[in-house]
Symmetry: D2
Subunit: 336 residues, 4 copies
């Protein structure tokens, strides 16, 4: 088994997809052990550490990478299977942030109202019990919520010579902030540049749907990813696959366009996989499909379209790479 | 037990919320047995019955009602508990419809492209097996999907002397098209006019998230609803409650506004129920909340915000009316 | 000349389009002299008269009417030519209003921020000089702006048995808030119900583009309208015509849909008038068309699409009714 | 007078803002003579040259530049005064383009409908007469439209280490497609990187409002720009100034956000210039402001907010740089 470990120095963190040289080269089939810093760069460590004071724009939402995948060329598809995602600390953090979030005016949904208060919440991470613990800042309300680790930000270098802030989700991936991106899931990205140049960050211990206040239960993560490459297979928008479902993503504004992109991709993908005529696939997805919300707070919003694999018959997406990477990941975990 | 049965004659069907006299008066505490016609008025009965030929605009999406609730006044809240929702026929129907749906241009998202083909799919309803059966129109693909009956359209007369087409969801309810509105759920509506004047229609055997093609697995329904009234309690937007969750709805365009309305209501409602300070409730919902998609195809789009009741501590919404109506419904089912 | 005068008593004012009996019957060819109250019902008369204190929702934005036009049937088009629009008082008023306007959160673009301050500005109306005079509330800044009277709200009863608040613009007209609706303009509305049932209100001494703060320089008006009917001619969305231009309106959310509707109507209308093939008309409008903004603050947003008549060649919209009504209006003014 | 001339070789054209080394260094006070290629790279030269055949994505919408402005640092404002914009050929071109434009589904407003026909229109440019001549492709309709040259694309390198396709407008400028960007106008951009790195392209002989079909009357241009730098003055979004008006831009989706950004900037800028308290400035702009539409077809939409300088009293934006550059430009034209 080809295992590569990488823990970035602070100066190695990246704040864009595209526009950066790779930090490592990996071959398809590699199992990659990564450390990712939290979206605040680890600088918010207590309720008095206001992000606007301790963080410096645009040095937010750092990602680990990019990684150059040997043999990856435009027109291929990169497969990243998340073997495990484990909080690296026994605490996590969430905040409101001035003019960021769904229930506040923002720099684009601009109003003349003052911003909401900037406030920090510290969470306990109890991996043994499988929970995070929320403490209200006013009063003594405490609640435990299930731990459900995920990565908010995963993607490749965009096409057209672009470099994009890691906070922006788009066709290259980026900050999709979907709770569906948990361990056991394979994510697919169309390759835009030689080497694909993927990167991963923004670990969440858990996240509500839409990340309504703008941040999740943010945490540094120790994450293991199995990497593979599907030559000559295009992927127009990031797709996910777990044991039971296929999923398409869309990231855009307004939110209905994120919905349209993801459902359009799921319909056409389902049609291609099953041989169903296009409107027949449209009908199938209309009745059997789901629509998990990713983020409704970033510079683009993200939605997913999700279909149980039961409806695919014998069809196997991407020639079965998910099952192969899942097996590789299990072998890795057993041997670890 | 006060049980009222009502099966509308075709001429009694209503196509608006507001602007119509009541068909019956019911007292709080009544169990109401209803028949609702499907969204096509029962006129699409085979694959050759194109809606544009057999239906006449605006006589679409008929509702059964309105019902005058004795004692209901503006400022009160109407509670409708769905005891049972059962398909009335062994078939159901879905269609594409010219310039209607999420993956087509529409009369508002106007383009110069021709409409998609208008096509009808007939479903078998197998209540015994608990499934509906989909048949592709091209090829021999067949799939069974779980039966999960719901009502797309429920609401009261709007305020401000308005009358709205039943196809439109807004603060009065209407065509929210949420799969969450199934048996076992209590729906709450703010009362705008004397008697509340609620009506119910648009039964679905099941529905994908967003009703992407514009219609669900449409069916006539035999539905039982337990009715109650909460005096002096306001409800700004329709809310739902099941045994495990509270839910707020929002209906608007663009879709992010439906999200904002529903999440805003859930945050302020949670704050009011728990005593959590507003931003603390915002944080709680941000991490623990869900966001089921209703429709992304109607004249307004609908989203829900949903929170497990575990996070409410000892708080009981609307003074426990859900539990009381649920018990009433069970008693009704046992005695039936 | 058939001249009808009508000045409503306060109790006769209407707050919806649809759902109300007519106040008068008028024959096509009638010149109608009207009084319209301002959007606050004349109750905001000084800087201390906060609308939220002196006005009662939903009794806002009253219109004068509806008028039953003899012979008008669904499928016809109503033509209303604005002969003159004159402020009825020597003062006018504008305000901010809680959670209303483009640069504030609203009930649909819901945020957790507090509302902006509610503030009233009183304007002097100097009809002789042709200006209104703005006085800042803080400091001694004063500015004169050209008087450019218009009606924000004009429309007919909607179809599908609907009744809509006067504040909402849609396919029936309503609160479009377009500065293009000034004297000299003919407005066309598709007739949805027998008698058309048109009404007029919401006079503005002038208005910026989009009515960004939510209100214009609001004033009661003495307005003269020449009424005509075009039998058998449909009008999908309200259209305007002045001596030099044809204009289509669209009202929807998000704002791009208002743009799409209006441009789509202008393209197809131009194609029908000129015989230009559809894409050729699309190209013509793309290079020669204008897009005046109506409102970006109401429950639907409004945009116009506008084309100089020079590009129509010999084509005359609606068989020349604009020229005839314009001549009738001039005769009326000469004889007055 | 410091005059620099630059005509790019094809290989020197740029397709992004950011991510490219400068082609020239210029000092503040320089008059720059430029050649810009049309948005098709000059490859669409007849009605049979379909863009999808003769152009290669992403090599569309080339810009001339970037130029390094000596002394420019983040926090400064770059001023570009357009002295003259002259079509470089006696023909220009416009097209429909698959899934691009306002009245078609797109890659984000995704539908299952087929694209509109791809079609090319060739225009005659008659600079002497001051017109462009449109020829319908079906039939013999011909129309002359006033020549009104402008640049669709102007901007600087974005911040946060981003590189953006030239087709995207945002806070750095880019493809705003505003007819207001004509000769006689000074455009202001906040500097994000050392040297500012501005570039210019996408000349239009004229353009309708919103560029509804996706392209204007596209032409190569000979353009003269006077360059200056305002040290220590920030500009959050591109602003324009002509002899009579100040203008703010906003680029976002949905379109109302472009409106909000631009109006918000105009209100706060007006407040800063005049000393008017914020809500007083909001009121002034609400009644006196205009809202020219830029594009409603690109990856972000663009709107402008525009105020006559009469309302600014004695205030002079950016310390009078517009008047100085205008004088410099006139001197250049006189000496040419």
């Amino acid at each position: 088994m080809n295992v590569v470990s990488y823990r970035p120095e602070p100066a190695e963190l990246s704040y864009t997809f595209g526009g950066r040289p790779p930090v490592r080269r990996v071959a398809p089939g590699t199992v990659l052990e990564l450390y990712t810093e939290d979206c605040f760069g680890g600088r918010v460590r207590g309720v008095d550490d206001l992000p606007s004071a301790v963080c410096e724009f645009p040095y937010l939402n750092p990602v680990t990478g990019p990684f150059f995948v040997e043999g990856a060329e435009p027109g291929d598809t990169l497969a990243l299977h998340f073997v495990s995602i484990e909080p690296a600390r026994d605490w996590a953090v969430s905040t409101t942030f001035p003019h960021f979030g769904a229930l506040t005016s923002t720099h684009t949904t601009a109003t003349l109202q003052p911003p909401l208060e900037e406030r920090v919440w510290m969470y306990d991470v109890d991996a043994g019990k499988g929970v995070v613990r929320y403490h209200a800042r006013r009063g003594d309300y405490v609640a435990e919520m299930p731990l459900d680790p995920m990565h908010g930000t995963v993607g490749v270098a965009p096409g057209a010579s672009e470099a994009r802030m890691t906070i922006t989700p788009d066709a290259h991936g980026g900050n999709m902030d979907s709770p569906e991106l948990r361990a056991g899931v394979t994510a697919y990205f169309g390759v835009n540049v030689e080497g694909a140049l993927f990167a991963i960050g923004d670990g969440h211990c858990r996240q509500g749907h839409g990340e309504v206040c703008g941040t999740a239960v943010e945490a540094a993560m120790n994450t293991v990813v199995a990497v593979d490459l599907i030559k000559g297979a295009g992927t127009p928008w990031p797709r996910f696959e777990d044991d039971g479902h296929i999923m398409s993503t869309g990231s855009a504004r307004p939110l209905e366009d994120a919905y349209r992109i993801s459902q359009h991709d799921l319909v056409t993908w389902t049609s291609a996989l099953t041989g169903l005529e296009l409107l027949d696939a449209y009908q199938l997805v209309s009745q059997a499909g789901q629509a998990p919300v990713g983020n409704v707070c970033d510079t683009n919003y993200t939605m997913l379209a999700k279909l149980p694999k039961d409806y695919l018959g014998a069809a196997v997406p991407y020639d079965g790479v998910h099952a192969r990477l899942r097996a590789l990941g299990e072998r890795y975990l057993n041997e670890r």
